[in-house]
């Protein structure tokens, strides 16, 4: 017997909702305190891309991103959620400008954090120049916000992953939480295969894709600080945890990041595969990592995995 909907608490609903499967709007509704979300320039304003009609492509009234504010455990936060089911969550002119404006406000205020729910293949090709520049503007705005004391947290677990320029924006955030299906990379599997051949990367080998770009590898490598199980409640708790951890950006952090990345190249630069890296990190039977359930993986990652804390 399933309980009547009204008896289910928001937390229970968030716990039973897959982050990967949910829409951008459902993710925000369940991530934030119940009923607290208010959108800026919602779909009723029909601010669509001015460029898709050149290609006879359908527009979406929110251009594939939802931005606004709400509360997380009572504290105000700014939020942006990409909709991976519209044009692969790709950055276009309007889509990107909404996030840029949000970050500029956060910078001016200085104390309200920003949560970015990434779900993107990168630049929207039909408006490639505008999308690329939007990403550059967002990266600059993230850095300016962080330099003013704003915490910018990335949550990555959507069906389009976090690719292309999305991966670069993620690299600019104060901290990231990632789930197993959340992939973070610059070049996608198909792009590498098309440019370098199937011998370099077989995009149809899903196990290869997950272990090279997926959330478990990114957590073990220290690219993401928290690993979340694939449900919205876990991401909510991850966001709260990260908001309590991260400090302000300064030169020392960038120097520490230089050292962190140099150390990674020294240790793992010659590794051929993710399993070799995990083995070098000291994981026994590293080949079993992809099969580990979330709780066992988190215990392992907390024991062995690296973090980017104070070094990003």
């Amino acid at each position: 017997m399933t309980a009547p909907l009204k008896d289910i608490t928001p937390a229970e609903r968030a716990r039973s909702t897959s982050f990967y499967e949910a829409s951008a709007r459902t993710r925000l509704e369940l991530l934030l305190d119940a009923g607290s979300f208010v959108e800026f320039i919602g779909p009723e304003q029909r601010e669509v891309s001015p460029h898709l009609k050149i290609f006879d492509l359908p527009e979406q009234f929110d251009d594939g991103i939802v931005v606004g504010h709400g509360r997380l455990d009572g504290a105000q936060v700014f939020v942006a959620a990409q909709e991976g089911r519209f044009m692969g969550g790709a950055f276009g002119e309007v889509h990107g400008a909404k996030l840029t404006g949000l970050l500029r406000a956060a910078r001016q205020i200085g104390s309200i954090p920003v949560l970015i729910l990434f779900d993107t293949g990168g630049v929207r090709l039909q408006e490639a120049n505008a999308g690329e520049l939007a990403i550059a503007e967002i990266m600059r705005a993230v850095m300016e916000a962080r330099s003013s004391g704003v915490k910018v947290i990335g949550l990555i677990g959507g069906r389009s992953g976090c690719y292309g320029g999305g991966g670069l924006i993620a690299g600019c955030c104060s901290a990231l939480a990632v789930s197993e299906p959340g992939r973070i990379a610059v070049s996608g599997p198909e792009v590498i295969e098309t440019n370098r051949g199937v011998e370099e990367f077989d995009s149809r080998d899903r196990a290869l894709v997950w272990r090279t770009m997926g959330g478990k590898h990114r957590r073990l490598l220290g690219a993401a600080d928290v690993f979340a199980a694939d449900n919205v409640q876990d991401f909510r708790e991850a966001a709260l945890e990260l908001l309590g951890l991260v400090g302000p950006l300064g030169l020392e952090r960038l120097k520490a990041e230089q050292e962190r990345l140099a150390d990674r190249l020294r240790r793992y630069g010659a590794c051929e595969d993710a399993v070799d890296i995990w083995t070098a990190e000291g994981i026994v039977h590293a080949e079993t990592v992809p099969e580990l359930p979330a709780d066992q993986f988190i215990a392992l990652a907390d024991r062995i995995g690296r973090t980017s804390r104070d070094a990003r």
Partner: protein, 240 residues
């Protein structure tokens, strides 16, 4: 113009810029006698984890030790597309390079990008597009995405894409299209002294505030970006 021609014309008073496997590192003397830190990517080299880390290290070593502006020369391929680079977290290395350049710019070391050849995608984001002022030289041919790849993804013929490209700067490759977007601030002449043009720019640097969306609007390339960003910013400020 070759890279040697460009550097000689930029810095007649001398420079110590070396290219090592496509990675440019060094410094040069400005007419004023001040020093300018120089870095970049040459020979259409792909920007991978190793190259990006050397470039960011060069800037970080200079911060606190030197003063003066920073020049980023760009003739690169795209980001390096390989299993190894992605395995090691290329997104973090490219983001780190951009972050270091932006940090320097915001803290008294104004950055200028000089796009003199090719560049694309993640490599452009981590270099030229992470500087305060991006200058193009005639003949530069940046491409966020090349038309053959676009044809594949959009399932349109090359002819159809080329036809569409005539009426809009928003997707097609090329320096003038990026200038119309507001990504490239100015295009220098290659028939007069680059040192003169650099000096004029340094004497009249725009503020560190990112004005590329406004520039794109004035030039008619991006009519909505500035307005949408401004509206969201205002709504968010009111929501405080």
């Amino acid at each position: 113009m070759t890279l040697d021609d460009i550097i000689t014309s930029l810095f007649p008073d001398g420079h110590e810029v070396r290219s090592d496997k496509g990675v440019l590192l060094g410094s040069a003397t400005l007419r004023s006698g001040d020093s300018m830190l120089v870095l970049g990517v040459a020979d259409r080299t792909a920007l991978g984890v190793d190259e990006a880390l050397r470039l960011s290290g060069h800037v970080l070593r200079s911060i606190g030790r030197d003063s003066g502006p920073i020049l980023v020369l760009v003739d690169s391929d795209s980001q390096r597309m390989s299993k190894r680079d992605e395995l090691l977290g290329l997104n973090e290395f490219l983001a780190h390079l951009a972050k270091v350049l932006i940090h320097a710019d915001m803290n008294g070391r104004p950055t200028i990008g000089l796009l003199y050849g090719h560049s694309a995608a993640g490599a452009l984001l981590a270099t030229g597009l992470a500087t305060r002022v991006l200058v193009g030289l005639p003949g530069a041919d940046p491409a966020v995405m090349d038309l053959p790849s676009m044809a594949k993804v959009t399932k349109l013929s090359m002819e159809a894409l080329e036809e569409k490209a005539k009426s809009t700067p928003v997707f097609a490759p090329g320096l003038s299209n990026l200038a119309q977007m507001g990504a490239v601030h100015m295009i220098w002449s290659n028939t007069t002294s680059l040192a003169d043009q650099l000096e004029a720019l340094l004497a009249d640097m725009p503020a560190a505030r990112d004005g590329r969306d406004t520039l794109g609007k004035v030039r008619g390339g991006r009519l909505k970006a500035a307005e949408i960003a401004e509206r969201v910013r205002d709504l968010a400020l009111q929501a405080r």
